[in-house]
Amino acid sequence: MELYLYLALFSPLAGSLFAGLFGASPRTKIAGLVPSLLLFVSFVSSTILLVYILSGGAKVHVEMMTWMATGDLYIPFGFVVDQVSVTMMMVVSLVSTVVHFYSIGYMDHDKGFNRFFSYLSAFVFSMMILVMSDNFAGLFIGWEGVGLCSWLLIGFWYHKESATWAANEAFIMNRIADLGMLIGIFLIYWNTGSLQYDQAFAAMNGLDKEVLTWMGIFLFIGAMGKSAQFPLHTWLADAMEGPTPVSALIHAATMVTAGVYLVVRANPLYDLIPHVGLFIASLGAFVALFAASMALVNRDMKRIIAYSTLSQLGYMFVAAGLGAYWVALFHLMAHAFFKALLFLGAGNVMHAMHDELDPFKMGGLRKVMKGTFVMMTLASVALAGIYPFAGFFSKDLILEVGFVEHHYIIYTVLLFTAGLTAFYSFRLVALIFHGEERYKLFGIHPHEAYKFMLVAMSPLLLLAIIAGSFKMTYFEMVTAVLPATEYHVHSAITYWIMTIGTQLFVILAIAFAYKKYANNKVKVPDGTSKMENRLCYKVLSNQYYIPYIYEEYLAKPYKELSTLFWKQIDMKVVDATVDGIAGIIYSSGEKTRVMQSGNLSTMLKWMVAGTIGLLSLAVVFGLAARYSGEIKTILSGLGV
């Protein structure tokens, strides 16, 4: 099994290096094909491992080599394949294989084709390290590695100012969170003496509640950055500047779920501190609603999906925070499938529309892009949580968790958000695929994507539909390591009322979206309609003015303060002090130079004066030595 572990882990790296070799050379298909095939190898290995674990195999744990060892600290490159990580491996390798094959078509005409695959495979490798590591430091490697690849990929079209800006924003925001993570790791090390998961968690039982709370908080700050939770969420929407496959892979399916993975992985810790868990859940519920509300009015196709991702991440954190780790992981998995599908579909649309992102400028695309239409619709259905699609099983479960755990406010918020989710998803679908063909106004001739791209997407489609049916198998498998709590509403009637009620609510929202946006009256908004001038619309479309606040009250003052530090403090205070000291010495020399008039007579006078000075010193010291006893008594009398 170790062989498969290494294969799963290192074939993306090999792919990345291979594509990297062609980095400076012109576009060649092979630079895309080989990494994709290697990823397929990784996927197959992951599947073999999954089967092995499913069939009751013990977890695979290898220690490749020592990384850092000093003092009591011992960090190896250790990898573990257990029920949790194998789930993540499956998600990562599957989605990334799909995305890789898809990208061969998507990036077809791009100058940086080879570079793209190098980065993308490097990302997968980092993600694999992240999920497979058996210690927090290894997790951190992956954590930062995916951050780096995210930076590279968001800023992939580096000639675009907005892309590079978004890349830097993403990296820096993630770094803020990484600091929290790092502090969390330090806390764990100094309190448990180890960074290995098993040893650290074993030692946590005996620790002080307060320390554990801090650990939980700091680790969660790390998770907040990667999973773009409020208030570190702004980067995710801006990250849509990257190529769409990147958004599908990184900003929907894998990297952003790393935070959820961390919380799930650290479940023994969060079990000990339920109050932090409650905070996580509350924040998750808030983000779910908050992000969904922003998605309602947005006019950028990819940003809408990004906010949707954010919202779904909120769901996952609710589940994880409330202790339903397996539910969180399950939703993570299901979400990865349909959200990646949604993004890839959006990629097709973008290609067709020549990088136009405003869904109001599309409309009626279903005639030209049948395959994409079907896929995106089904993905949206799954996202909305309609039976029997994947979203129904995972999302409904989270609602149930909220209900069963008696957090009714969270439950209500999530229920409401589910409606919003359905609405904005289908608003998007309706605007893109139904109604009048508004794109003609802009002189665009859309075309369907390559066949093989659609084929590449099909596994995701399949999984988006059927993933829900794995629920029980999955539950049995993963609860070997996670707390096995079944969430069932006690009475069957309540259960049915809830389920059907939710379904009806969601379907209503969908219908409303269709009614509003699928007709031929939809116009390209020009900022004059009544709705657009409403305050709440403005607030929502400006993302609650949060990016504006960050820019005005954080970024700009930071820049100004930096300039102030440099120009005023460093140059005019610190350096001027040093130069001032030098100046004093210099000017005193300049002044006393007059003494050296060159006139012997004057100099002789100075000589005598100097002699007198020395003689006086001799007298003073002589007297002091002679009368030292008396001086001491006088001084002691003065209290010195």
Binding site: K605, I612, A618
Partner: protein, 191 residues
């Protein structure tokens, strides 16, 4: 008693002589007063029993040094008053007297004199000159020889320095000649 009278007498005389040497405006007076002062100082050496030093003092100063000075003064116009612009007199006197007072304080305070002890105690019964010779040619042989060499060097230096162009004397030349000589010299420098 005799010693005291002699001490005070010579102390008075030397002080006065030196004072004249320092204060007078006539170079010749200064020279004479200095020579007198030197000879009076040798008296102290005799009083202190350092006969050899006394003799040397007279020979060296009133003989050799004074002769040298006189020789040197022949080059200068000694008949005229020495014109000196003096700055602040109070500084000059103030500084000198202050230093004198300080030195006296140091000597008279008991802190120094307690610690001095003899390195080469005098041998009873031997004459002063003889003892001096003994020490000089044993312990201080090397410094003595160095001093001798130094004197030789000084002598040669004196001859070389003063001996250049002995035929040319600015004091004996009139102004026109001096100017001419200067111009000639400048030419040499320029070329």
């Amino acid at each position: 008693m005799f010693e005291a009278i002699a001490f005070y007498l010579f102390a008075f005389l030397t002080t006065v002589m030196f004072f004249i040497a320092v204060m007078t405006t006539q170079a010749l007076h200064a020279l004479t007063a200095l020579a007198a002062g030197m000879i009076f100082i040798s008296a102290f050496f005799f009083i202190l029993g350092a006969d050899f030093l006394g003799a040397i003092q007279i020979v060296v100063y009133s003989g050799a040094v004074m002769a040298l000075y006189a020789f040197g003064m022949m080059f200068f116009d000694t008949t005229r008053d020495v014109k000196e612009k003096n700055g602040n007199k109070y500084i000059v006197f103030g500084l000198s007297i202050l230093s004198a007072v300080l030195v006296v304080v140091i000597f008279s305070a008991p802190m120094v004199t307690d610690n001095i002890s003899a390195l080469y105690p005098m041998v009873e019964g031997a004459g002063n000159t003889q003892e001096l010779g003994m020490v000089l040619f044993t312990k201080y042989l090397v410094p003595f020889e160095v001093a001798a060499v130094m004197l030789l060097v000084a002598m040669i230096a004196g001859i070389v320095l003063a001996g250049k162009k002995m035929d040319l004397s600015l004091t004996l030349m009139n102004d026109a000649e001096i100017i001419e000589a200067k111009i000639e010299k400048n030419k040499k420098v320029l070329s």
